[in-house]
């Protein structure tokens, strides 16, 4: 371990954000309550700074701190996407937090610390670093989920998330101890070397792998460790839900990918079947149960379970296609899901959030632009061209068929057709039913900007994806030979 200049420069974005987060905590005590919006602008500036720093570091594949930390285009891709998600979240949160009367300065600090946690996750070259990242992120989310202290749902969600999250972390840590016990190392590359070695201690490794898999599937909310998702998504303040669904999920996917593709690539055949099983179950549970939901946030929670199932299929084959597919899927998913939650949080019914599907009836008549944005998100989530969601699913199926799992693709397609039903139900409510008078759509310039960015990106990803595709391709360059 050395604190040389290279190491510090390489982790500059993380250092920036931690620093800014601390500053925010101090500022929060000094800024009067009416001027709290300054904190939001400050957060955005911090994120833009970090983004610039990360872009500056792009193209360098650096193992830092003796391999504990890796800065490569792959991690930078995830970081930049997470910053984007963070900026959009801040744009969305300003009016929302005030309406809900939960506009605390700590919110922004926790947001930044959660982002740092995610950055540590996707950059970790070592399982302990990874664990630190996961814990940092999760601790922030436990607080953020329970931000609505007066609301029992929010508190219940926070408590549930905390208990289950702590369990999953413990299991994950237990898995790491197995792996360490077998191999004597906890760096990802060291593990890979050990597993590729034919004389590897198989049962121990498999035990450790399964336990870490449990931790990861919990974080990406895949079946059978998805139970927390609907309750937490429903109870949490909607901005936090959106941020969790978008950023936390793709960070978890990033690290899932790194661990399983690098460390466990040697015993791929031990976990292939497990992933297939988890993926099928996630698609089935996510898409089927979502049909029954009347609360939109719960519905999107189940839909996110289903989407995790699709994305997981990208883990199956070690080639560029599937890696690309997974990254593209995650990238697209961030924008469409954040946008969808953005529309939800702007709906107000008698002073509280209008999060029931019935609150969306006739939105087209009263707020055509918002309805159109929601239409884009819904069709994109359903995987209908010309929106990004289609291309994301296309690449997943492309990779799966390339891997020879055509039957899996057929199943995926089947569930996609079922899943389309509940997305269409929202569009139907918005466009084909008469409006309810007591629901108002409350938007601010910043919120509208956030919707414009998410909806625009979702459309652009389907119509002219070339720049994004080139960028994602370039971020794979060092990761896959």
């Amino acid at each position: 371990m050395s604190f040389s200049a290279v190491n510090i420069l390489g982790t500059m974005p993380e250092i920036y954000l931690t620093f800014f987060g601390c500053i925010l905590l101090i500022l929060e005590t000094m800024v009067p309550k009416e001027k709290r919006s300054w904190l939001a602008y400050f957060t955005i500036i911090a994120l833009v700074f970090a983004m610039l720093a990360s872009i500056g570091l792009n193209g360098k594949g650096l193992p830092l701190y003796s391999g504990l930390y890796i800065i490569d285009p792959f991690s930078n891709f995830f970081k930049i996407t997470i910053y984007a998600a963070g900026i959009i979240t801040v744009l969305l949160s300003l009016p929302y937090l005030e309406q809900e009367d939960i506009h605390f300065g700590e919110y922004y600090a926790f947001l930044l610390f959660a982002i740092v946690g995610m950055m540590v996750m996707v950059s970790s070259g070592d399982l302990i670093t990874l664990f630190l990242g996961i814990e940092l992120m999760s601790l922030c989310f436990y607080v953020l989920v329970g931000l609505k202290r007066e609301d029992t749902r929010s508190v219940e969600a926070a408590f549930k998330y905390f208990l289950l999250g702590a369990f999953s972390s413990a299991i994950f840590l237990f898995g790491i101890s197995f792996l360490y016990g077998a191999s004597g190392t906890e760096t990802i590359s060291g593990l890979a070397n050990f597993i590729n070695n034919p004389g590897a201690l198989k049962p121990m490794v498999i035990g450790g792998m399964i336990l870490t898999l449990v931790g990861f599937t919990f974080k990406v909310s895949a079946v059978p460790f998805h139970m927390w998702t609907p309750d937490v998504y429903e109870g949490a303040p909607t901005v936090v839900t959106g941020f969790m669904a978008a950023a936390a999920k793709i960070a978890a996917f990033g690290v899932f990918l790194r661990v399983f593709w690098v460390a466990f690539s040697g015993n791929r055949h031990d976990w292939d079947l497990l992933i297939i099983l988890i993926s099928i179950l996630s698609m089935a549970v996510g898409n089927l149960v979502a049909i029954l939901q009347t609360n939109l946030k719960r519905m999107l929670a189940y839909s996110s379970i289903g989407h995790a199932g699709y994305a997981l299929m990208g883990l199956l084959l070690p080639n560029r296609e599937s890696l690309f597919a997974l990254l593209f899927y995650a990238f697209t998913y961030v924008f469409m899901t954040l946008g969808a939650f953005g529309v939800i949080l702007m709906m107000r019914k008698k002073g509280v959030e209008g999060e029931e599907i019935s609150d969306f009836t006739g939105l087209h008549k009263s707020h055509p632009v918002a309805a159109f944005a929601m239409l884009i998100f819904m069709f994109s989530l359903a995987g209908i061209p010309p929106f990004g969601g289609f291309l994301a699913k296309f690449y997943i199926f492309f990779a799966v068929i390339h891997a020879g799992y055509t039957w899996l693709a057929v199943l995926g397609v089947l569930f996609a057709a079922i899943g389309a039903y509940y997305y269409i139900k929202i569009v139907m409510a918005m466009y084909m039913k008469d409006p309810q008078e007591n629901v108002v759509f409350h938007s601010t310039p910043m919120g509208r900007l956030a919707l414009l960015v998410t909806a625009g990106t979702t459309m652009l990803l389907g119509i002219y994806p070339a720049p994004f595709v080139t960028y994602i391709k370039s971020s794979l360059a060092l990761f896959v030979p």
């Binding site: 296609e321 690309f324 087209h364 055509p368 069709f379 209908i384 061209p385 010309p386 289609f390 291309l391 296309f394 690449y395 199926f397 492309f398 068929i401 390339h402 055509t406 693709a409 057929v410 397609v413 089947l414 996609a416 057709a417 389309a420 039903y421 269409i424 139900k425 569009v427 139907m428 466009y431 084909m432 039913k433 389907g462 994806p465 070339a466 595709v469 080139t470 994602i472 391709k473």
Partner: protein, 500 residues
């Protein structure tokens, strides 16, 4: 061939979409409905006139893709933005652009709420439909094919009838489920057919029989839902009944053709062996569709449902013609597609004319219309006669050619298929008797005869009915080269050997 230095196919796809954007500001101006309608009409007419350039500029003796464009679109997996048309697609594109002004005209009075949005949706839909027929990259085709669902869904769902929620969901899920299987075939073809999505290059490959069979079946589902063939047709009557007139016209005249186009463009040339293998199945389903559609049509009380079921019957003839694999059958099927587009579109327009006046489509509400609306009745009769295949009118040409082609292959099948004409005569004459003839009972509604707009929307179609019926050769001439090449591909022989 370019127009204003934009390649013509790109222009035809994006001109209506740009036009839709042009209409957007009118949302803010109250009372601008009339301007919007006129603008939409002008835009669709301009689109039609420009699309005629395809005929003028095409090389009728070549089966190759013409007016081609090719640009890399998505740099991963080699997806291109490539367009091109041959005789078959040119005919279908022109039919699309020809029908759209009628759709605008029929919506003049029929659509009174959210006019700007309606016209925008219609224009975007037009661009997408042209794209479906012009795409020569399989992924691009799929993007157009699938995104077409969204505007169609909105047209039925927002401006449709009382039971539209059920109809739209059924329509959407049916077609979506069908097309998703097509997506898997497209991806598999990429890996089997030499890492390309280019349709022309994929046609040039030979695929193993096993792959052909699987791929054919999956594709068949996608296209059979659109056509719609017999067991997959149940979404059609519901969608037609709930759709506004313009929606019905587009659905019947253009969207149903896309299924048949899919068979011609993809199934036959790419999987010729499987096509031969599955012909008995297709024949059976086509026959079932012909007879079942006709019988169902006879039992309907609702005029739109009657015409919808007659579509099932007529499209059965089209699929039959495609799969007899000879020159007459194939050209008859293509003519049948055009004729069905013209005639059924016109019939839906006629029903729309009546519905605008009475708000009823039930046969029992009508009778003796000929007294009140003589001009309309004449028009209605012309189109009904065309639909039942009266010689001298358009549908006869297509159906006769198909039956001729079928007779060369299987005489018994041809005999059974002939029922299409007999049964069509039954239900169309029944429709005429109930609506036009009989005792005129004045009701609370008034029945003025056709106004100028309706006249303008029906007249071009009536002209087409006679033109194709009397002198079909200009239309057939567009198809010769492409059809003979297609037959060559299916029969595995040199293109010109099978010419007559």
């Amino acid at each position: 061939m370019t127009f204003l230095t934009v390649p013509i196919l790109t222009f035809l796809i994006f001109f209506p979409m740009a036009g839709a954007l042009l209409l957007l500001p009118f949302r803010a101006i109250p009372g601008s409905e009339k301007t919007v309608r006129i603008l939409a009409l002008v835009l669709t007419c301009v689109e039609f006139l420009i699309s005629l350039d395809l005929i003028l500029g095409m090389n009728q003796t070549s089966y190759r893709m013409q007016f081609t464009e090719d640009h890399p679109w998505i740099p991963f997996a080699n997806i291109h933005y490539s367009l091109g048309v041959d005789g078959i697609s040119i005919v279908l594109i022109i039919m699309t652009t020809f029908l759209l002004p009628m759709c605008v005209l029929t919506s003049w009075k029929g659509i009174s709420t959210r006019v700007v949005e309606f016209m925008m949706t219609l224009l975007i839909l037009e661009g997408i439909m042209v794209g479906v027929f012009a795409a020569t990259d399989f992924v691009l085709f799929y993007v157009f094919w699938e995104s077409m669902l969204i505007p169609m869904y909105l047209i039925i769902g927002v401006w449709g009838g009382p039971n539209r929620l059920y109809a739209t969901i059924k329509f959407f899920l049916y077609t979506l489920a069908g097309s998703l299987l097509l997506l898997l075939v497209i991806i598999s073809l990429y890996f089997v057919g030499g890492h390309t999505f280019n349709i022309v290059r994929l046609m040039g490959q030979h695929y193993s029989m096993l792959f052909q069979e699987f791929a054919f079946v999956a594709m068949f589902v996608a296209f059979a839902v659109k056509v719609p063939m017999f067991p997959f047709h149940t979404w059609l009557p519901d969608a037609h009944v709930e759709a506004p007139t313009a929606g019905s016209v587009i659905l019947a005249s253009v969207m149903l053709k896309m299924g048949a186009y899919g068979f011609l463009r993809f199934s036959l040339p790419m999987f010729p062996d499987a096509s031969h293998f599955f012909t008995p199945l297709i024949f059976g389903l086509s026959l079932a569709g012909i007879i079942w559609g006709a019988l169902m049509a006879m039992a309907q009380e609702d005029m739109k449902k009657l015409i919808a079921y007659s579509s099932v019957s007529h499209m059965g003839i089209v699929t039959l013609g495609i799969f007899v694999f000879n020159y007459q059958g194939m050209e008859g099927a293509l003519m049948g597609m055009v004729n069905h587009g013209v005639t059924t579109g016109a019939l839906f327009l006629c029903v729309g004319v009546l519905y605008d006046r009475t708000h009823s489509r039930l046969l029992s509400d009508y009778g003796g219309i000929a007294k009140a609306m003589p001009v309309f009745s004449t028009m209605f009769m012309i189109f009904s006669m065309s639909s039942l295949g009266l010689p001298g009118l358009n549908s006869f040409i297509g159906e006769f050619l198909v039956l001729l082609g079928t007779f060369r292959q299987h005489s018994a099948l041809a005999v059974l298929a002939t029922t299409v004409i007999i049964l069509a005569a039954l239900y169309m004459l029944y429709l005429l008797t109930r609506v036009i003839w009989g005792i005129y009972s004045p009701r609370e509604w008034s029945l003025p005869d056709l106004n100028r707009l309706e006249w303008a929307s029906l007249m071009p179609l009536a002209a087409m009915v006679f033109w194709i019926g009397i002198e079909p050769n200009p239309f057939l001439g567009l198809l010769h080269a492409s059809v003979s090449h297609l037959i060559g591909q299916v029969q595995g022989v040199a293109p010109l050997a099978s010419l007559r």
